[in-house]
């Protein structure tokens, strides 16, 4: 195995791995500071922050060091490469580089949104000299507040790492951003009349190591050190991008992509990034509701839940074969399992259906060429299937029932009168039912709707259960590729809305409280297709379902 020596510490790398010094040092637990380098973008070695001393270990054991410093991001390592990143020479170079990058950087950390998660702040503290020797006036460039609908540029804060430019050229392929002028007049800019509004544009804000590119949506909303983060999964489409949910005092402020090589990589699309606003919408269901003849009779969980239980039991006794359950592909695996097993317990003939799977257009592949056609090598996909967990819900229903009934079948059975009692677990914020379809539900003798937003169906429900959005509950989503990822409860829902898992636990009168990891172990035993969930805690990257599980699910 090739061995690289980083700060006197030998590190083995894979025989066919092509690593640069930064990556090799990372294996050794050594951080080489860098701004312009990003592992998903091409290397330009322009910031000079990653300068290191390099050398070669000769077969006879002697080490020959190169006299000059090398940019670590641009220099590949091989067997016997020696990297020194903590010598006086390197430290002096880091200090000088930082001083140079900071020459014209305004000292406006107090009003800068990046403060607290800023590469300049962190490295100045760690590697810089802590003060400026510049006595000339700073070169201040005017701000550009329209780079895109969601992006503003504080030109004077920019350190010209060109990560954003390379992102629009290499990942989105749309190439809206560019560097104009040369030398000290260099600026990031757009072509006139061609703003950076592609569907991946929000990523340039994350890529910016300083506070130059800022998100208009988050601008001046919060100081970042007040945000509490929880790992989660974007529910916007079946790609299932790993994200971070950033909230403070039960208000969600932003979603940030979380790097996950098993899921989407390092980025996320703007549909997901800004698509969470329904969480704080006024049409959220905030209280449960029991209605008799259209009149609200109770809005108390302690009354509504037992009433739902009794109403379902009565309906099953009356017409055991006319009870159906619809589980939305927005539900977690745990919720699907709880509801499916509960329905089968009270009515062994209950029909289990999957809710409407919303498909919008076709998969959107990036990068695109100048004509908007996808390039040969896809680096990011926004999927047409706009739900996070179709595979998970289908796997559970398949196991419990043997086959999956689509939602349209249930609707026609309702019209025919074959279904008289219906329990719907919703969750799709875009509205999962049209007014004409909802009118068909008028025939039902019992309609229980568990959802998070008011919809055409919720106004007809006899019982309404106020559920939770993805950021307000624990659970598991399985993406298009069979990757099971955990979502975590980051904030509390509005008023008395409860996590769906908790509602279903209480409805099924199961012992104990909802605990996703415990439930996952139970599901792994009960559903062979999801046996990979037996680990309980799914970790940062999630767990890939084994091939047996995948093929079984694909027959659905």
């Amino acid at each position: 195995m090739p061995t690289v020596i980083v700060n006197n510490k030998p590190v083995e790398i894979g025989a066919s791995e092509r690593l640069n010094c930064i990556q090799a040092a990372e294996r050794a637990g050594v951080e080489i500071p860098h701004y312009c380098y990003h592992h998903d973008l091409s290397v330009v070695a322009s910031c000079r922050m990653c300068l290191v001393e390099m050398g070669d270990k000769k077969p006879d054991g002697t080490i020959a060091m190169q006299p000059k410093l090398f940019p670590g991001c641009q220099t590949p390592v091989k067997d016997g490469t020696v990297i020194v990143s903590d010598s006086e020479k390197v430290k002096a170079a880091q200090k000088a580089t930082l001083e140079y990058l900071l020459l014209n950087h305004p000292l406006d950390c107090p009003v800068c949104d990046q403060a607290g998660e800023c590469g300049l702040q962190d490295y100045s503290y760690e590697y810089g000299r802590g003060y400026s020797r510049l006595q000339e006036p700073k070169n201040i460039k005017p701000d550009k507040d329209y780079i895109g609908d969601q992006i503003t540029l504080f030109t004077d804060r920019c350190i010209m790492c060109t990560r954003c430019v390379r992102f629009t050229r290499e990942i989105s392929g749309t190439a809206e951003l560019q560097v104009v002028s040369r030398g000290t007049h260099e600026e990031i800019d757009i072509f006139p009349g061609d703003p950076c509004n592609n569907k991946l544009a929000g990523n340039v804000v994350d890529l910016c190591p300083v506070g130059a590119l800022c998100s208009k949506d988050f601008l001046y909303e919060q100081r970042v050190w007040w945000l509490n983060s929880k790992n989660s999964v974007c529910p916007g489409c079946s790609t299932g991008c790993s994200i971070r949910v950033d909230q403070n005092k039960d208000v969600l402020y932003r979603l940030k992509p979380r790097e996950n090589p098993l899921a989407q990589g390092s980025f996320m699309c703007d549909e997901g990034r800004f698509g969470w606003k329904y969480i704080h919408s006024d049409s959220r269901l905030k209280l449960p509701e029991q209605r008799t003849n259209g009149q609200t009779t109770s809005r108390d969980w302690d009354i509504v839940l037992p009433a739902v239980r009794n109403a379902l039991k009565d309906a099953v006794v009356r017409t055991p074969k006319k009870f159906a359950v619809v589980i939305s592909p927005w539900a977690t695996v745990e919720e699907a399992y709880l509801l499916a097993t509960y329905a089968r317990k009270i009515a062994p003939a209950a029909k289990l259906a999957i809710g409407p799977v919303r498909v919008v257009g076709e998969d959107d592949l990036y990068p695109k060429d100048v004509h908007g056609k996808p390039a040969a090598q896809t680096k990011f996909t926004i999927r047409a299937e706009k739900c996070p967990n179709r595979l998970g819900v289908e796997a559970v229903i398949q196991q419990v029932q043997g086959s999956v009934i689509p939602f349209s079948d249930i609707l026609s059975q309702v019209t025919r009168g074959d279904v008289e009692a219906l329990f719907v677990l919703g969750g799709d914020p875009e509205g999962w039912i049209s007014d004409t379809d909802a009118a068909k539900l008028d025939k039902l003798k019992l309609l229980v709707v568990q959802d998070l937003l008011a919809s055409a169906a919720s106004s007809k429900a006899h019982y309404l259960l106020a559920g939770a959005a993805f950021a307000e509950k624990d659970g598991t989503f399985i993406n298009h590729n069979g990757l099971a990822q955990a979502i975590h409860r980051g904030l509390r829902g509005p008023e008395e809305a409860r996590p769906d898992g908790r509602i279903l636990m209480e409805l099924a009168e199961r012992h104990g409280m909802f605990h996703a990891a415990t439930l996952r172990k139970e599901i792994a035993k009960a559903v062979p297709a999801l046996a990979a969930l037996a680990v309980g805690e799914l970790g940062e990257f999630g767990v890939k379902l084994d091939s047996a599980g995948k093929t079984e699910m694909q027959t659905v």
């Binding site: 406006d108 950390c109 009003v111 020797r133 006036p137 001046y220």
Partner: protein
């Protein structure tokens, strides 16, 4: 961790001589001090509330929000005070400065709302220490009353009115950067910073008269 025996210095009480052992000189000294207080009587008790209290200059009373020369609120809504506040009594909502208003071209951000709960506040002064633009300062006003809790939530207007009321009274001078916005928002003239961290003795700047300035 036990203290190392060699780190401990044992000190003996000095021995008393004959006169000291009689304690008479000490008694005479004490009587002289008593006599001095009788002949040079000066009351130290302040007759508050009949007479207003004579406060030290650094007294930490009710907060104020300073104005700059243009009369705008000096605060840049960086929320450092709210971060530093141990009582969590400061609540700020920031807003982008109006871009098309010529009076605000030099500003990026200002507070839309700035509320201090004067009942929660423990008057520790951390907020004024944290402020990078000297916008929040504490005044000598200590007699604070209100009929409701709501009244004691001081908003931006109220805090600015405290500034108008106290800036010329002599007890609370605007301490620094009068009229200027301070380093955080003042782009025209940035003062050379002193070293925030230790300067190594072999660094060029350490040899200059002012650290951080090269002659």
């Amino acid at each position: 961790m036990p203290i190392n025996a060699k780190d401990v210095d044992w000190v003996e009480e000095p021995p008393m001589n004959f006169w000291e052992a009689t304690f008479l000189p000490a008694v005479v000294d004490g009587l002289r001090a008593t006599g001095h207080h009788v002949t040079h009587f000066k009351p130290v008790t302040q007759m508050y509330p009949e007479v207003a209290s004579d406060l030290p200059k650094h007294y930490r009373g009710v907060h104020r929000l300073n104005r700059d020369d243009a009369g705008r609120v000096k605060c840049v809504a960086c929320m450092m005070c709210a971060t530093a506040c141990p009582a969590r009594c400061i609540d700020i909502v920031a807003q982008e400065a109006p871009k098309d208003d010529p009076n605000w071209v030099d500003r990026d951000k200002f507070p839309k709302s700035f509320v201090i709960d004067e009942l929660k506040c423990i008057y520790c002064g951390m907020c004024e220490e944290a402020c990078p633009v000297d916008a929040i300062e504490m005044t000598h006003i200590y007699d604070l009353t209100g009929m409701t809790r709501q009244e004691m939530l001081f908003d931006k207007e109220k805090l600015l009115s405290v500034f108008d009321q106290t800036k010329d009274c002599g007890l609370d001078p605007v301490r620094t950067h009068k009229g200027k916005l301070g380093p955080a928002s003042d782009f025209e003239q940035l003062p050379t910073l002193g070293p925030a961290t230790q300067v190594r003795s072999d660094d060029r700047s350490a040899k200059s008269a002012t650290p951080g300035v090269i002659k």
